[in-house]
Symmetry: C2
């Protein structure tokens, strides 16, 4: 009987560390969830991570551990496993994370930024299995992305490829958090979507969004707009249709630049319903080179919030 | 004594075919120029090309011919050497160009699209020699481009990467020839620059541009605006500064997507003067991720109108 191969995948989040023991086919054999404890600083955070890895490894009765993969926020130097300035972790400027983990577990440890990890997960185990080349987009608080070429993550010369959220859609447009003008994230990120909804609610006093926040417009955020859209609320659907249309402009620019045809979109906001994907597709087709139009494919990600663990494991599988 | 290695590089243009015998160091040993005769159809065009290749080969007294490279307009299927629908060639829908040339010369023949060929030329012999990774932009009638990664052309999965002219800078903007909205080419391509100048000339009756076209505004085109800018004309400089600023928006989006820092810009319009590069750089820096800003390098191409021949030869050298 051939030996089972598996890996540990760590989804290093700002509030929770989710860790999975993953088979080489992408099956989750065991998982653990611990608080990140970012307020306690890097040393404690690393201990939490080690604890959760040790916990899932108790389920690895037989078989061969291929290594540990970690999907991390912040700027990741993938080659040397160093993580810089992850948001929400107090006092973490520069930590050689892979070395810290290797100290305890003595196996190969790879670290990658979280958007790339989710892209890898979809490529290996999710909606991207059929597509050797695609752009992965994670649309949540912000808009992130990763590029898969020939089934592998394309990091670019400096490890930062796929920043689809900072593709400009208006040279004379909104100011983005990043300091640039017109980034699509400034339009369709959580903050601006909520703002748009609040503005529009004045003219839509019967919108389902208002019920969902019990009339408190300070509570309006995409999760409620999304829920209202799913329930057929017209205003909510308009807001997401408009946002999807704007996302399509940025996707068109990126696909023209990298010569891709397929976009896989995950993240919380993408849950609003199929009509969002239709709006994104229509707009993307209108913004790519004519010869590409008929092949444009816009599909939802498959793995939801297990993508982080699975993709992290995929780094070493 | 070691043998000389050389290649033939063919710059297949709409009106002229320029062919060079090129050494492996990028020296032009001999060159020939024949009319394309596009009105006569593909058979005659191919004969013209064969004639010019034969002519430069008479100068190849000794040494080893590595092959023939061709930079072609139209859509190029690089792997099988087929060229589809080059503009200005009557009746050319689909021609297996490399096979036609190989029939006569019995050596390796490679065909590549003309923007990629110019990018390869700058990478191997020009302004890109120092830079393993850059975006090449050719700014003339339209705006084309090519991506160099690790010193090699990055074609993308379908051979069409680097279409920087069709990066959108305004989701609500000008209609491009390609049918999409807001492509940077619609703003800074030859047609719109001329139109902008004509509009502005009404308010600038003393502009040097008017002298250069002898008062005939129907003759206004970028070559004159460029000449006027070089001579210090204020309106001409404003037009190019604005155009460079808009180009920088598209460059920012492309650099964020592919994770590049260096842009090399060639093409007729780029000859207006250093101030254009300054405007492009300033705007690009304002549109890339913060961490990239200090490394942004925007430089002129070096090879001018020999880039086509040199890059084509570079395909087989």
């Amino acid at each position: 009987m051939s030996q089972i191969h598996y890996a540990v995948g760590v989804d290093f989040g700002g509030t929770t560390i989710k860790t999975g023991l993953i088979s080489s086919e992408g099956k989750i054999i065991a998982q653990a969830k611990v608080p990140t404890m970012g307020d306690e600083g890097p040393k404690i955070v690393i201990q939490q991570m080690q604890k959760s890895i040790a916990e899932v490894l108790t389920h690895a009765k037989k078989g061969k551990l291929r290594g540990i993969g970690i999907g991390s926020p912040g700027i990741v130097h993938q080659q040397d496993g160093i993580v810089f300035d992850p948001p929400n972790i107090k006092g973490w400027h520069r930590v050689a994370l892979s070395r810290e983990i290797r100290k305890v577990f003595k196996v190969e440890v790879k670290v990658e930024n979280d958007a790339n990890v989710a892209a890898i997960a979809e490529a290996k185990f999710g909606a991207g299995k059929r597509y050797p080349n695609f752009l992965f987009v994670i649309w949540g608080t912000g808009v992130g992305g990763g590029i898969i070429l020939d089934g592998e993550i394309f990091r670019g010369p400096h490890g930062g490829a796929g920043e689809i959220g900072h593709v400009s859609i208006d040279y004379n447009g909104l100011l983005c958090n990043c300091g640039a003008i017109g980034c699509v994230e400034a339009y369709i990120g959580q903050r601006n979507l909520s703002k748009r909804a609040v503005e529009q609610l004045k003219n839509h006093p019967t919108s389902r969004i208002l019920d969902l926040v019990r009339g408190d417009i300070s509570k309006v955020e995409p999760v409620y707009i999304s829920q209202a859209a799913l329930e057929g609320d017209q205003l909510a659907r308009e807001i997401f249709t408009e946002a999807g249309t704007l996302l399509g402009v940025a996707l068109g620019s990126a696909l023209n630049t990298v010569d891709l045809r397929v976009v896989i979109i995950g993240g919380g906001i993408s849950a609003a319903g199929d009509f969002v994907y239709d709006a994104i597709k229509k707009s993307t087709q209108a913004h790519v080179m004519k010869s590409m139009r008929k092949d444009i494919t816009i599909i939802p990600a498959k793995l939801g919030n297990t993508a982080g663990m699975l993709g992290a494991a995929g780094l070493v599988l």
